[in-house]
């Protein structure tokens, strides 16, 4: 895990210094950039394993940065943004950001997000057939979902939605992305579909549907499912 390179693109020098110290202490190598343009140059020449991007850069819109970056790289990017700027977050996520963190954030929170992103990124490319969260196992090729060993009957839309969520392994998927993937491009503003089907999924898969532990909604942004790839499906012998 060591000798990984983190690129911090942040225009505030003191935050930049603190982030550098935090990452150095965790055993990462750190490069920093104060502007979006410098950040692009650094990202191109150093090939970092991870980018922390502030959305309030003076010279370049965070979305432009992400669009440029995503043309040649799938380096995980964590964006930092202010609370209340949900629209900005959605645009950044749609432009290719992997996750977001609201300012001001705590250090443990930051490190947790970073590790989750790296873990997900390491496993990328080998999209698993099986995913697991809590007592639920999702078998994508088999089109089945088991909860605590028992088969759960899902409608085809419920299953498609669940697949989109588990495949993102904890990453927020924006409402737009979900509606487009599950219902089709003509349904991007039918947000009530999502509300109703998320409620169905929670009812069938969560212990307490009112306080979900895995199928979470980020209001104004999208949804996430805290699922992981599973090597062996934990199924009872049929």
């Amino acid at each position: 895990m060591n000798e990984r390179l983190v690129l911090v693109v942040e225009d505030d020098r003191s935050i930049q210094r603190i982030l550098r110290d935090v990452f150095l202490k965790e055993g990462f190598q750190v490069r920093t950039a104060l502007t979006g343009r410098d950040g692009m140059v650094e990202a191109g020449s150093r090939r970092p394993d991870f980018i922390v991007l502030d959305l309030g850069l003076p010279d370049l819109d965070g979305k432009e940065f992400l669009r440029d970056l995503r043309q040649w790289s799938d380096i995980p990017v964590l964006v930092l943004s202010a609370r209340g700027a949900e629209e900005e977050k959605v645009l950044a996520l749609d432009a290719g950001a992997d996750d977001f963190l609201v300012k001001p954030f705590g250090v443990p929170e930051l490190l947790a997000r970073l590790r989750a992103l790296l873990r997900r990124h390491d496993g990328r490319g080998s999209r698993g057939p099986f995913y697991r969260f809590g007592q639920v196992v999702v078998d994508i090729p088999g089109h089945t979902v088991h909860r605590a060993g028992e088969l759960v009957r899902l409608t085809s839309v419920e299953f498609r939605l669940l697949v989109q969520l588990v495949r993102s392994e904890g990453k927020v998927v924006t409402q737009r992305q979900l509606l487009q993937e599950v219902w089709g491009p003509g349904h991007c503003d039918q947000t009530h579909y999502l509300r109703i089907y998320m409620a169905h999924l929670r009812k069938k898969l969560e212990d307490d549907p009112t306080r979900p532990a895995y199928l979470l909604t980020e209001t104004g942004v999208g949804c996430r499912c805290l699922a992981e790839k599973a090597d062996i499906p934990h199924l009872e012998e049929r």
Partner: protein, 464 residues
């Protein structure tokens, strides 16, 4: 450029109202007298029978140049003069049978020519007036097209109309103005609505003047309407600019205020980690600083949001939201703060989806939770509930504390200020309200009431 004054009377040799001036009548008499005199002179040279041509000429000339009335008079005078002075018996109006016929013919010819001349003159006059009015209309519409204010428009219209008609009209922007005595009102009609009233002295209106004035009046109305819409467009542009500026200032402010807080929080936390502090009191202080910084950040966020909402022109990002998800989102944001409390949620499946700005409504719940955490003992339970019906959805939060502090009662009253103000503002922009009161058990109850005036569309078919 002052409008060219052109009183139509100066162009016309004969007024429409010839009795007003004695000139043409005298001219007609003079012509007849001259013809009589000339006849005496040439009587010896030409025969008396030929003198009738001279009198006919006089009658025609008078008819042609002096107008209809004087022309008729001249014709009669010419016939009488010829009869009296030159037809036998001289000095008497007696006339022989053949002369009588020629006299009648003479009169008939003179009168017919007079009629024809008059008709021609009228046609020429009306053509000239038509041209004059076309020119006046064109001139006024050209001048009005350059006008930049309503005052400007009415000045141009007054000068144009006054110049054409020779009287002083008045313009009022009141479309329903009652005309005072002796004045006629003509509406300034424009495509969208009547923009005002033109007042003209009634006595000056003759013939088709009214129609012409109505044309000029609508030209004026059109110009006023154009200026009105220019102003509307400019105001809209200014407002848009203002909103853009305001939102840029707020977002810059938000960034600038949060950046140092982010620095402090990350700094304090990494300090705690770096020192590997064993001293529990130091770690407690670091935790306290971190908590206070987060509170400060929330305060800043509430303040900015409040000023955004209160400055008006807020665009709500409304879509369908589930009350359960909003409650859960708020609880996750305040997980650490509510640590250890018993939290009960009662939201039945009958509660409908709510059409609202989910981020703002979640903020209301977060602020209410903050309030609970701050004003109730650490172990007191929290009860969140929702119910629908009667065109509203009610989302409530009950706690086991001592109820809401009285308005303005010391420090506690102040500390709830910003958070609750923001909650109220958010409720208002949704056309809803925030109700605060007490639970039956004596705790505080806050209820967010949101209007439920639309239902989500049907879902598509979904086979199992």
């Amino acid at each position: 450029m002052p409008p060219r004054r052109c009183r139509r009377n100066t162009f016309s040799p004969v007024d429409d109202r010839p009795w007003k001036s004695a000139g043409p009548w005298l001219q007609a008499i003079a012509i007849c007298v001259a013809a009589t005199g000339l006849s005496f002179l040439v009587e010896g040279i030409v025969g008396a029978s030929h003198l009738s041509l001279l009198f006919l000429a006089a009658a025609v000339v008078a008819s042609a140049f002096c107008g209809l009335g004087p022309g008729i008079m001249a014709s009669v005078l010419a016939v009488l003069g010829l009869d009296f002075f030159f037809l036998p018996p001289h000095g008497s109006f007696h006339v022989s049978g053949s002369d009588f016929v020629s006299l009648i013919l003479l009169l008939a010819i003179a009168l017919s020519i007079g009629q024809l001349a008059e008709r021609l003159r009228r046609q020429a006059e009306s053509a000239r007036r038509g041209q004059e009015r076309a020119q006046a209309t064109a001139r006024m519409s050209r001048d009005l097209s350059g006008a930049f204010s309503v005052e400007n428009v009415s000045a141009i219209a007054l000068a144009g109309i006054g110049g054409t008609f020779g009287f002083e009209p008045r313009i009022s922007l009141d479309p329903n103005l009652e005309a005072p005595r002796g004045w006629s009102s003509i509406p300034l009609r424009a495509p969208r609505k009547t923009r005002g009233t033109l007042l003209v002295p009634s006595e000056n209106l003759v013939g088709d003047d009214r129609e012409f004035l109505e044309t000029l009046a609508s030209l004026t109305g059109l110009a006023i309407e154009r200026i009105h819409f220019v102003e509307v467009a400019r105001d809209a542009l200014l407002r848009m600019e203002g909103e853009r500026l305001r939102s840029r200032i707020l977002s810059t402010l938000s960034h600038d205020l949060r950046t140092p807080l982010t620095g402090i929080l990350a700094g304090v936390e990494s300090l705690g980690a770096e020192l590997d502090v064993v001293d529990e009191s130091v770690r407690g202080k670091i935790r306290m600083v971190a908590t206070e910084v987060r509170r400060m950040a929330d305060l800043v966020g509430n303040l900015l949001e409040l000023s955004r909402l209160q400055s008006g022109g807020v665009v709500l990002r409304q879509d369908w939201n589930s009350v359960v998800e909003l409650i859960d989102g708020a609880l996750r944001q305040r997980e650490a703060l509510l640590n250890g409390r018993e939290i009960r949620i009662d939201v039945s499946e009958e509660v409908p989806l709510v059409w609202c700005d989910g981020v703002l409504v979640e903020r209301v719940l977060v602020n209410l939770l903050d309030n609970v955490a701050r004003h109730t003992p650490g172990e007191s339970p929290v009860h969140l509930w929702a119910e629908g019906g009667d065109g509203v959805v009610r989302i409530g939060l009950d706690d086991g504390g001592r109820g809401f502090p009285e308005e303005g009662s010391g420090s506690e009253g102040r500390s709830t200020g910003i958070g609750l103000s923001l909650c109220r503002s958010i409720a208002e922009v949704h056309r809803g309200r925030l109700e605060t009161g007490a639970t039956p058990g004596g705790g505080a109850r806050a209820v967010l009431v949101l209007p439920q005036d639309r239902t989500p569309p049907e879902l598509p078919e979904d086979p199992e």
